[in-house]
Point group: C2
Chain length 287, copies 2
């Protein structure tokens, strides 16, 4: 057993549970209803007898419930926050019962635009209702109720995950004992709304988007790539990007004067833009 394995939660399973039944739809903030709702989640560690050691992790945009460990022995990469979650790590799974669920609309196992609309037998696409942070938290609460969790010791998350953390403290102040919102905000400002609009328009403008009725294998990859590139600009500060890339050239000592990316920062963005997140387009507005 090497060092990595020793500090890992090991092989873990993403489970799915139905939290809203077909006949009992959930009322969303937009006024529409949704049913059924399935939630994909993972847990690590054990809930103690007092039931007071649960840590809820809320993931960021385009992410999923697979926080730590491997989903199979063949996996090459562990979960997205494996560095923080595991035995003896910052969020210590020897002490805490850790839960993370894919948020509503997240499309990595939890019901979202890619799920089957029971009214049509086809994927929802653009018919999926616009959801809010409060809706995501409401669905997470239904999951925790199903799991028999009576209290959260800490609610942790960054970015849109942090917005959920803040929402948890408003919705259920008694239920949540502590909150660790990271790199987040109570609401988007004008510039963030603007970046969001550009990314959304890039997807909508892509002919393959086909008004949201695209086939699984022929999605709006080009538009999604542009949206992801924009996202990755906003994930680094101007200063951070300057220190990380500056004006370094990709792989040459002088300009090549062509349309192939010249600069290291362009290579980085192109790589991020090409990463495939098939079926992972959450439809969200931030309230």
């Amino acid at each position: 057993m090497d060092e990595t394995e020793k500090n890992s939660v090991g092989i873990v399973e993403t489970r799915t549970i139905r939290v809203v039944e077909q006949g009992k739809p959930l009322e969303l903030e937009c006024g529409k209803t949704l049913a059924p709702i399935d939630v994909a989640y993972e847990t690590y560690g054990r809930l103690n007898e007092a039931g007071d050691n649960a840590v809820l992790i809320c993931h960021a945009l385009s992410s999923n419930a697979h926080v730590a460990g491997l989903n199979s022995p063949d996996d090459k990469k562990p979960g997205w926050w494996d560095i923080m979650v595991g035995p003896g790590k910052g969020i210590d799974t020897d002490k805490y019962f850790v839960i993370c669920s894919n948020f509503l609309g997240g499309c990595s196992g939890t019901t979202g635009p890619g799920s089957t609309n029971p009214e049509t037998g086809k994927p929802y696409g653009l018919d999926f209702p616009i959801i809010t942070i409060a809706d995501m938290v409401k669905v997470q609460k239904l999951l925790l109720d199903k799991l028999g969790i009576k209290q959260i010791l800490a609610c942790v998350g960054g970015s849109i995950g942090g917005m959920q953390v803040l929402q948890w403290t408003i919705e259920c102040p008694e239920f949540v004992k502590s909150a660790i919102p990271i790199a987040t905000t109570t609401h988007l400002g004008a510039q963030s709304i603007a970046f969001d609009a550009v990314g959304r328009n890039a997807i909508l403008a892509n002919p393959n988007f086909a008004n949201g009725r695209y086939e699984a294998e022929k999605g709006p990859d080009g538009g999604l790539g542009i949206a992801r590139m924009i996202g990755h600009i906003t994930y680094l500060s101007e200063q951070g990007m300057r220190e990380k890339f500056g004006r370094d050239l990709r792989n040459a000592d002088s300009y090549s004067y062509d349309f192939i990316s010249e600069f290291a920062v362009e290579t980085y963005l192109e790589h991020q833009g090409q990463v495939s997140w098939k079926d992972s387009m959450p439809i969200v507005i931030f309230t």
Copy 2:
């Protein structure tokens, strides 16, 4: 004569002059050559006998030589800096001989990717060489030589126009008596390169771009719209955008929860994205 007309340079003509002949190509910084080169320009006021009252204005991205006045009596809008240039205005055409030319690659009258490639008889498209700020200034100097101008009293410009102003002071320090570079830089940093890359990729990814061989009436408007939206985010600071738009809704008191733009800032960006700048895609890298 109303107040507007009194302070206007009146009806002005955009002239075009050949500064590089077919047989005598210009060597560009990328190592390629280009010929012929025509330059579109406007002038206002008169060059005095001493020849020391010339003011050169360098325009910004997607702009043109039409700084002030009207090109025809039917024009509804005057030139792009009419508020600053005219009789008795900041750049006083009663005192100064004002010149502005569309920069190389600018596609508003000056040779650019939309011009006919003499080797093929078709528009250059992507075969147009990558040009630099220094190339633009070199072509402006050829224009001034043709006009018999021996000295510039002031060289003025903002953004990419300001980069040209700075380049002028390096290339011809004796020729330029003063420089007014506005909201500009000596070079793009990592974040600006990144924004540039996203805009370029949005255009390249648009199927209508057709590898640069699109027809005049069927261009990559969708991709160009995304690039223009990104540009218009960068033209305002985060604070400026917040003060101007905040989270104001477009035309409602509450969220409509649909994919139509909710926020005022989105309306602004969509408007800017839809403005047609046909044939106005400069191909530039900043050195």
